[in-house]
């Protein structure tokens, strides 16, 4: 009787473990454990994060670089 109970408990544990593994796999948990090549786009960028990214894009101005030429030009 006791042996039978033990067997059922083991089977129940096995089923629960398998269920947990299956759920983890479904939600891509295992994929996160694998080192991947750096992705440019992440999984959940919000509009606020995208906004910050866009604000960080600086087109710049070549003015300073061009002014540096002027000191030489004035000597010619």
């Amino acid at each position: 009787m006791k042996t039978l109970n033990k067997t059922w408990i083991l089977i129940l544990i096995a089923v629960v473990v398998l269920a947990l593994v299956w759920v983890a796999w479904q939600y891509g948990f295992f994929n996160q454990l694998v080192t991947k090549e750096e992705a440019l786009i992440s999984d959940n960028d919000t509009t606020a994060e995208i906004d910050n990214d866009l604000n960080a894009v600086d087109i710049g101005s070549p003015d300073e670089d061009l002014k540096q030429l002027d000191s030489d030009l004035n000597q010619l």
Partner: protein, 230 residues
């Protein structure tokens, strides 16, 4: 005791089977679609970067070869100058102007890569919103406009890369004026590119983001929704 245990075990198994079947019917295709789209976008962005980089390198090589004769002529003329200091300055200015054009076209190209990446992020967020049943048609149009603007700007940057800035002068007293003319042309071209194609591209990306922001609760992640069982 044994019967009780077996019945509870069977109940547990039925519960798990129910959870499995419900989970299998959840929004799985959408989640997979979004995952696939993310991978596709990342691959596309990397390819686009590589292609743009190669285009710039090719254009630079072409420009260098095309201007080779004129550059040799300039070097020869500089070598005939009597003033040693002027010789050094003229040589330095010629190198600096070429370097400046290369530096700024590389910078503009990097900015376009970054804007392209941001458009990818907007596109993915729009996909998620669409998966949640939201209307993103205005966002799609704005994304397409931004993509067109990025491509036009890439062509403009490539055109700028192909330009060469080599002074031509007939006599030593006209040396300064010749270099000033070239400097002004470089200034005009770089600012023209920055204030034209580059700024309008940034604006187009900003418009796409604004369109995305106007979608209600757009930052919500798609939740698992049950589809009717067959």
């Amino acid at each position: 005791m044994n019967r009780k245990f077996i019945s509870s075990f069977l109940t547990a198994v039925f519960c798990l089977v129910f959870v499995f079947s419900v989970a299998a019917q959840t929004n799985a295709p959408s989640r997979e679609d979004i995952k696939a789209k993310k991978t596709e976008l990342n691959t596309h962005l990397k390819n686009e970067r590589e292609t743009a980089k190669k285009r710039i390198e090719t254009a630079r090589e072409e420009a260098k070869n095309a201007a080779e004769t004129r550059r040799v002529e300039l070097k020869n003329k500089i070598s005939t100058l009597r003033d040693e200091k002027k010789k050094q300055i003229a040589t330095r200015l010629d190198e600096q102007m070429a370097r400046l054009n290369a530096r700024w076209t590389d910078h503009f190209n990097n900015v376009l890569d970054r804007l392209s990446e941001i458009i990818g992020k907007i596109e993915l967020r729009a996909d998620k919103a669409q998966a949640m049943g939201k209307d993103v048609s205005a966002v799609r149009t704005a994304i397409q406009n931004a993509k067109t603007a990025i491509e036009s700007a890439r062509v403009a940057v490539e055109t700028q890369v192909k330009k060469t800035y080599i002074a031509t002068f007939t006599s030593e007293d006209k040396l300064g004026a010749a270099f000033k003319t070239v400097r002004e042309q470089l200034h005009k071209d770089l600012f023209g590119l920055r204030d034209g194609a580059m700024k309008s591209t940034r604006e187009a990306v900003k418009n796409a983001l604004q369109a995305l922001k106007s979608v209600p609760r757009v930052d919500e992640e798609p939740k698992a929704t049950t589809t009717p069982s067959q």
